[in-house]
Subunit: 391 residues, 2 copies
C-alpha cells in the first residue's frame, strides 16, 4: 500500500488520532516497529522487516522513517514523507555480532532530545528483547512506556477508503474460493491445489491485482485437520475426508480471510450437524454485530448455537482484520470472546471464526464482516456451506 493509495488528509487524520492516544498515555515520542502500523501511518511497504526499522512519531513535527541504508530508496518510493525525514543506519551493521542498529537509534533519539516518555511496542514480532535492552541501557527503564497496540487500536474503525480496499480483498478471496471449489477433486496432491489457489489470489481479477497475504494457506485434511495451523503437503486428496482451507485475498496489504471446509464423498452425520451449528452461529453473530453490541455478545451467539448442537467451544471466535504483514493478519486488539466488553462501532471489520475441532476432524466456515447499522455485512461473497463433492 504505497502512500498514494490514500489522501494526504487521511494520513494526517491517522497521525492526529495516534497523537491523541499518545497524549492520553503520556507518550511524547512513539517508536513504531509493527510493519502494519508503519504502513498505516506512512505508506511504507517492503519486505524489510527482518532487520530493525521504525517509524518515529514525535509529539510535534514530521514523523521519521528509520531503517537500513539499502531500504531508504524503498521508503522514498512508497511513503509520503520528505527525503530529509528518511534516516538510515549503516548497512554494515546488518545482522552483525558486534553492532546493533538500535545503538544508532539511541544516538538519533538523544541528538533530537527525545529521551523520555518513549513509547515502544513491547509485544511485537519486530521489537526484540535485545532492541529493548539497548534503549533501557541508554535512557533508563522509567523513560520507556509500553505502547503495544496503541496504533493498532487507532486502526480498528476503518475509513471508507479502507473499507473499499477490504471489499476488493474480499473479491480476491471469493475468486480464490471459486478456484478452490472447481479444482478440488480426489487424487489431486494438496500442494498442486494450493499452488492454483494462491496463484489465483495474486494474478487476481481484471483491474484487481493481488498482493501476498500475511499468512500462507492453512490447509489440513482428515485427521491432520485436528491441528489448526498445519500448512500443506503433497498427499493426494482422499475420499471420505474433510479438508479445510483458511485463505485470504490481499489487496494492497488489506486482507479479507475466509475459511471453508470441503468434503469428498458423503459427509458423516456429525460433520453435517457441526455444519448446521456453524451456519446458525454465523447468522446469529452477523445479526448481532451492530454498533453498541459488545465483542462478547457476538461471541455468545456462536457459543449458544454450538451448545444447542452439543458442542463446547472454548477458544475465541474472531478478531479484527485489516492492513497486515506476516506473520499475522489479525490486528491484536479486540477478540470475539467472553470477557471482551469492547463495543462494536460502525466500520469496524472482523474475521468471525466459528470453527469446530474434534480429535478426528476440523470444520471451519468463516466470514469476514463489516460492522454496519444493520448488522455484520460479509466482505466477501462466498457460498456459505460445507463444500461437498460426491463421487
Amino acid at each position: 500500500m504505497p502512500a498514494t493509495d490514500f489522501s494526504a488528509q487521511e494520513f494526517a487524520d491517522r497521525i492526529a488520532k495516534t497523537r491523541a492516544a499518545m497524549e492520553q498515555q503520556g507518550i511524547e515520542t512513539l517508536l513504531i516497529t509493527d510493519p502494519s502500523n508503519m504502513a498505516w501511518l506512512t505508506g511504507y511497504d517492503g519486505w524489510s522487516f527482518y532487520v530493525p526499522q521504525m517509524v518515529i512519531l514525535p509529539a510535534n513535527g514530521s514523523p521519521l522513517w528509520w531503517g537500513r541504508t539499502q531500504d531508504k530508496a524503498g521508503a522514498a518510493q512508497t511513503t509520503w514523507m520528505d527525503a530529509s525525514d528518511l534516516l538510515d543506519w549503516p548497512e554494515e551493521h546488518v545482522q552483525h555480532p558486534d553492532h546493533h542498529p538500535v545503538d544508532s537509534l539511541a544516538k538519533l533519539l538523544r541528538d533530537r532530545g527525545w529521551t523520555s516518555a518513549l513509547g515502544v511496542e513491547m509485544d511485537n514480532y519486530y521489537y526484540s528483547a535485545a532492541s529493548h535492552r539497548i534503549l533501557q541501557n541508554a535512557f533508563g527503564d522509567a523513560a520507556i512506556l509500553d505502547a503495544t497496540g496503541l496504533v493498532n487500536w487507532q486502526r480498528a474503525v476503518k475509513s471508507d477508503a479502507e473499507v473499499e480496499m477490504m471489499q476488493k480483498a474480499g473479491r480476491l478471496t471469493a475468486h480464490m474460493h471459486q478456484v478452490l471449489r472447481d479444482a478440488f477433486r480426489e487424487g489431486l496432491p494438496k500442494n498442486q491445489l494450493v499452488a492454483e489457489v494462491q496463484a489465483a489470489g495474486i494474478a487476481g481479477l481484471p483491474g484487481l491485482a493481488g498482493d501476498y497475504p500475511a499468512i500462507v494457506p492453512i490447509a489440513p485434511s482428515g485427521t491432520e485437520a485436528s491441528a489448526s495451523h498445519i500448512t500443506w503437503n503433497d498427499r493426494p486428496l482422499t475420499q471420505d475426508e474433510a479438508t479445510y482451507f483458511e485463505i485470504s485475498g490481499c489487496y494492497r496489504r488489506y486482507h479479507c480471510p475466509a475459511s471453508r471446509s470441503l468434503f469428498l464423498g458423503d459427509p458423516p452425520e456429525d460433520i453435517r450437524r457441526a455444519e448446521a451449528a456453524v451456519l446458525r452461529a454465523i447468522d446469529d453473530a452477523l445479526s448481532a454485530a451492530r454498533p453498541g453490541t459488545t465483542c462478547e455478545e457476538v461471541a455468545n451467539c456462536v457459543y449458544e448455537s454450538f451448545a444447542r448442537a452439543g458442542y463446547v467451544k472454548a477458544n475465541r471466535t474472531g478478531y479484527p482484520i485489516g492492513l497486515s504483514y506476516p506473520p499475522d493478519w489479525g490486528e491484536r486488539t479486540m477478540s470475539l470472546r467472553p470477557g471482551d466488553t469492547t463495543e462494536l462501532q460502525e466500520n469496524m471489520t472482523f474475521h468471525l471464526m466459528p470453527g469446530l475441532w474434534t480429535s478426528d476432524w476440523g470444520l471451519a466456515i468463516t466470514e469476514s464482516f463489516l460492522v454496519t447499522a444493520n448488522g455484520g455485512q460479509p466482505l466477501a461473497d462466498i457460498p456459505r456451506e460445507l463444500v461437498v463433492k460426491s463421487k
Copy 2:
C-alpha cells in the same frame, strides 16, 4: 519438515551438539523461540509462530514443546516427541490484554526447578521484549543469559540428509527461474508473472512438492529496482527496463535462494559492464569457497571484481542458508563481508549475493552454494547471465 524427514539419530546428534554449546556458554536450560531452531531440533512445523511458543531444552532429559492448546495436535503430528512432553498454555490467553502466555511458562520453569542459567534468544522475531520482561521479573536478570544464535550456529554445517533437501530446493528454484524466463514478456503485469512463478515453486516437479519460502518474491523493475526489498505491483513489464527476481524454492522448509535480472530490449553498456563484473565475482568467489577460507576472503573476491569494473560495494555479499521460516531465509550467523574471519567448513551452505545497485537500476545474479573440498558447488542449475529478451 516433519520429524520423519530425518533419522532419530540425526535428531539426537543435533540435540547433543546444542547441549555441548549450552555447556560452553554456561546455559542449563535453553528456551528456543526461533521456529527454524524449533523445527531443526524437533521437526515441529506449523504457522503458529504468531503466538508465543518454544522448545525448552534442559541440560538432561527430553526437550519439551510448549505452545498454544490449539497447536498441540500439530506438535503431536510433526515432532518425534512423546505426547507427555507436549505442554500447552491456555487457549483463552491468546492475544489477551490481561494475560500473557509467558506467565504460564514462568510457572512451568519454576515447577521443574529450571530457574537459573536460562538461555533466551534475545534478538529473535518471536521472543518479544514483553516476554523477556516477564522472565526477568520471575527469575531476575542474573538468571537469564543471551543465547541468540546458539542453535543457529549448530545448523551451519549441514548433514548429508540436509544437503539433499537443499539440492531438492535447488531443483525447485531452477524450475521457478525457467518458468520466469519463459513467461517474461513486454506488457505482462508483474503480479501475473509472480503468480505463475510462485505456483511453479509450490506445484513443484514430479515427486518434488514445494513448500512456502520464508520470503515472498522480491521483484522490482526499472527505477523501483534501486530499492532492494520491493515486492511487486500490477505494472506491465516495459521495454528497456531491468527487473530482478529474488526467489527461492522451498523443500520441506529448506531453501535455495537465487536471483536473476531480466531485461526487455538491448541492455545499455553500464548494465552489461555490471553483468561482467558480477559473473567474474561469482566465479572467483566459488573458486575460493573451500574449507579453511574465511568469509571475508570469499567476500573480497566479489569486492575486487567490482573494483576492477569501477563499482564500489559496501554491503555484505552473502549469508548462510538452510531451514527457515518467515521473515528471513538467512541463518543470521556468519556474513560474507569484511571483518568476518569465520573459516568455511565442508557442507556449509551460503547464498552468495553479488548485487549491484545504482540510483537508476539494480542488478542481481546470485548463487546458493555448498562448500566442498573443490570450492563452492552451486545448489541450483540456473543459466548464469542477465536474461535478455530483445524485441
